[in-house]
């Protein structure tokens, strides 16, 4: 697979994503500058973590108007796989590819630590390599990861099965103690109704080798690789 990692001014996890794809998985990866309008034939676009445009105004609010985002939206609308991690998730909600909004953490603190998340489905391009309700240990690092959506809309999201990851304890129980930021229904990651756009606050690209503390993030990236190889056959 060929993965394009978008670099906005202020992105700081673009090299982590690149290294995970290129050096750990041995796949093709390329950086896509925010001013570019060419996705260079990539099969997967990653919007990485960081503080695009200094998080001015609202996290992701200005990055979404970057020239490359027009192409990313077109790519997603034609079925292309897009993954927004942390700040990338914020960009995806701001540009409307994903529903809802990410607000200030309920406790107002920046949280940087390992958390457990539970894969709610295994029949998606992003979780095909996970077991049902498998618990993954993946780090978070954010101040605005508190997922919010209005009551009736959250119900629709749940009914559609768009919630892919939920914060949980080590045993996979979804508890309020395991919720690091106040997200509604412990939501850590969602996808669009079509299933080709994923946004998640935890950083799978930071959990790709045992020496990093966990390699559970690889399951998500390998799911995408598997889905793409299936697609091309």
């Amino acid at each position: 697979m060929k993965v394009g990692v978008v670099t906005f001014p202020g992105s700081n996890c673009d090299y982590d994503a690149y290294a995970a794809i290129r050096h750990v998985m041995g796949e093709q990866a390329t950086f896509l500058w925010h001013q570019s309008t060419d996705l260079e034939g990539c099969d997967l676009i990653i919007l990485p973590g960081g503080f695009s445009y200094g998080d001015y105004l609202r996290a992701g609010a200005i990055a979404r108007f970057s020239p490359i985002m027009d192409k990313v939206v077109m790519f997603a609308n034609s079925g292309g796989l897009v993954m927004g991690i942390c700040n990338g998730f914020q960009v995806l909600t701001e540009c409307g590819l994903l529903p809802g909004a990410l607000m200030r953490n309920r406790h107002l603190r920046f949280s940087c630590r390992y958390v457990s998340i539970r894969a709610e489905r295994t029949d998606t391009a992003f979780t095909g390599r996970c077991r049902q309700h498998e618990v993954l240990r993946i780090p978070i690092a954010h101040g605005e990861g508190n997922y919010f959506y209005h009551d009736d809309q959250i119900r629709r999201l749940e009914d559609n099965g768009q919630v892919l990851f939920r914060y949980c304890d080590a045993e996979g129980q979804v508890t309020s103690e395991a919720n690091p930021n106040g997200s509604i229904n412990n939501i850590g990651g969602i996808m669009n109704a079509e299933g080709n756009v994923l946004g998640m606050m935890p950083h799978p690209e930071r959990a790709v080798e045992p020496i990093l503390g966990s390699d559970d993030g690889l399951k998500i990236l390998e799911s995408v690789r598997h889905a793409l190889s299936y697609q091309s056959v």
Binding site: E94, M103, F148
Partner: protein, 80 residues
Amino acid sequence: MSKKATVYVRLKDGVLDPQGVTIHKALNQMGYSEFASVRSGRFFELEIAGGSEDIDSRLQEVCSRLLSNPVIENFHIEKE
């Protein structure tokens, strides 16, 4: 013609405002117990250069596309 527009952006009713809650708690601790709640928000001052006849609709557009996130926030505009 108006020279300046001030845009006020605040969270919609029912959306939790952790900053407001924290400020309210601080006020209580300081002894200012007469306030029932605090909601935070922000404002923007836009100086108008002219050249646009439909400035009102342009302002509405700017507020809903960039200055506020319609999922969680309301805005209102005051012109001088």
